[in-house]
Symmetry: D2
Subunit: 147 residues, 4 copies
Amino acid sequence: MPTPAIPKDPQYNTRVKKSFKKQQFMDFIGAQLFKVTPGFCEIHLSYHKNLSQQNGFFHAGIVGAIADNAAGYAAYALMEKTSSVLTVEFKINLLAPADGKLLIGRSEVLKYGKTLTVCRSDVFIVKNKIEILCAVSQSTMIELKER
Amino acid sequence: MPTPAIPKDPQYNTRVKKSFKKQQFMDFIGAQLFKVTPGFCEIHLSYHKNLSQQNGFFHAGIVGAIADNAAGYAAYALMEKTSSVLTVEFKINLLAPADGKLLIGRSEVLKYGKTLTVCRSDVFIVKNKIEILCAVSQSTMIELKER
Amino acid sequence: MPTPAIPKDPQYNTRVKKSFKKQQFMDFIGAQLFKVTPGFCEIHLSYHKNLSQQNGFFHAGIVGAIADNAAGYAAYALMEKTSSVLTVEFKINLLAPADGKLLIGRSEVLKYGKTLTVCRSDVFIVKNKIEILCAVSQSTMIELKER
Amino acid sequence: MPTPAIPKDPQYNTRVKKSFKKQQFMDFIGAQLFKVTPGFCEIHLSYHKNLSQQNGFFHAGIVGAIADNAAGYAAYALMEKTSSVLTVEFKINLLAPADGKLLIGRSEVLKYGKTLTVCRSDVFIVKNKIEILCAVSQSTMIELKER
């Protein structure tokens, strides 16, 4: 992964955590920022029936939200202290039913560009203590300087 | 739009409503099935701070969920009575901040195939009584017969 | 479509044609710039067996190239005289076999932003004088100023 | 990668090569099937000015075609002897200009399902003997039995 070893902002961890906390939707569904390093992010979400689709599994919209958010913070961890990040687009393939107790989104930056950052995310569902790849995603993020 | 004028299941409306009700996530966020016809679906979602990202706007994950769900039910309305529907994949471009009081997802079926159905969704944000196109999406749905 | 009625560059037509001509790949496959207006572009491509996949139809890669190129020039027609355009990403759904004599790509700009432009493309295959929608696409373009 | 170690068709290699040869477009642009194993495929394409866009680099449509084709054959190598394969959809992010002498597409199957197969592709451009990741892609393939 061609991401810089040294982040532009040494306090990236605090900055990411602060932004994550401001996302009330993450709190509302119970998502947790599990890990963030420059160019990588992992988010965990425990199952609750409020998050389910018609078969009782995690809703595809939730799976997409976790993939997108992991990507956003993987990218944001690399950005300037004074920048903000927005999702330009994402695409997700659902590989298996998200039928389990814990949803894990992991994303890594593939290219950190001057304006745009491209990430790949894997989403796993944990069932009987085994992680199953249930979705894969590609996203583009934009860095808004001085905002 | 090359969708059949006569749906395979005359009771499609009841069937879609029933499935929507079983999606606890839709109830949890307060989304409403506003309209469904064979090959078309519209979903409404009023703003609540629980649905927000770091700037206070609707979270991109929510925007994606509404686009995906509208697509799913636009497709499902065309399907056999005994079929179920799953999202294979979706891709969404976010065009403008979802900054407003009401989010509207509208989706139409572009191709209803034997196995796969392709939909296009537009998501609008209503601000000062004006609808602004804030996201566009393409999705693939699969029809699972006799399930 | 919220594109400006008056293009920033009155000579957009000449500029687009010039850029299209410089794309040797378009000449190589025989593609023609059929029409361009600010925020819209149509490209035509006659069938030749050199463009075929294993069943003798237009190759999916060709279908994608026509969708992408129509999008690029729909966007480029809106841009500053001194800007250049690059594809950031595109996503295409193939709806029907591209089995016919003429492939037509039409793209329109959905959002012309300061940096990024989002387009939707429809690709049609003409068979027995009838246009059949064979692919739909969404793309993001970037405007590179003063290059 | 959760693909079966033992392919359903022991003669998959011959079958893939035969199908690749029938794609006249691949021959037309000079692409070569470099390697295929069950669930993996690598395609090489030497630069020629006929394949270029306005700046003289490989055209984005070519980059997409190589990513798509590598995915198609990675999937096809896993399929039944009597099946055929079609692209349902693909999405590609262009990360760097495809400015170099050789384009390499590598794809692997992430999920080989009963009907649908999902692949991820990486496209590299070789310049001064160094491989640079210039595009990443996700695709869905469909297996058509007995055709």
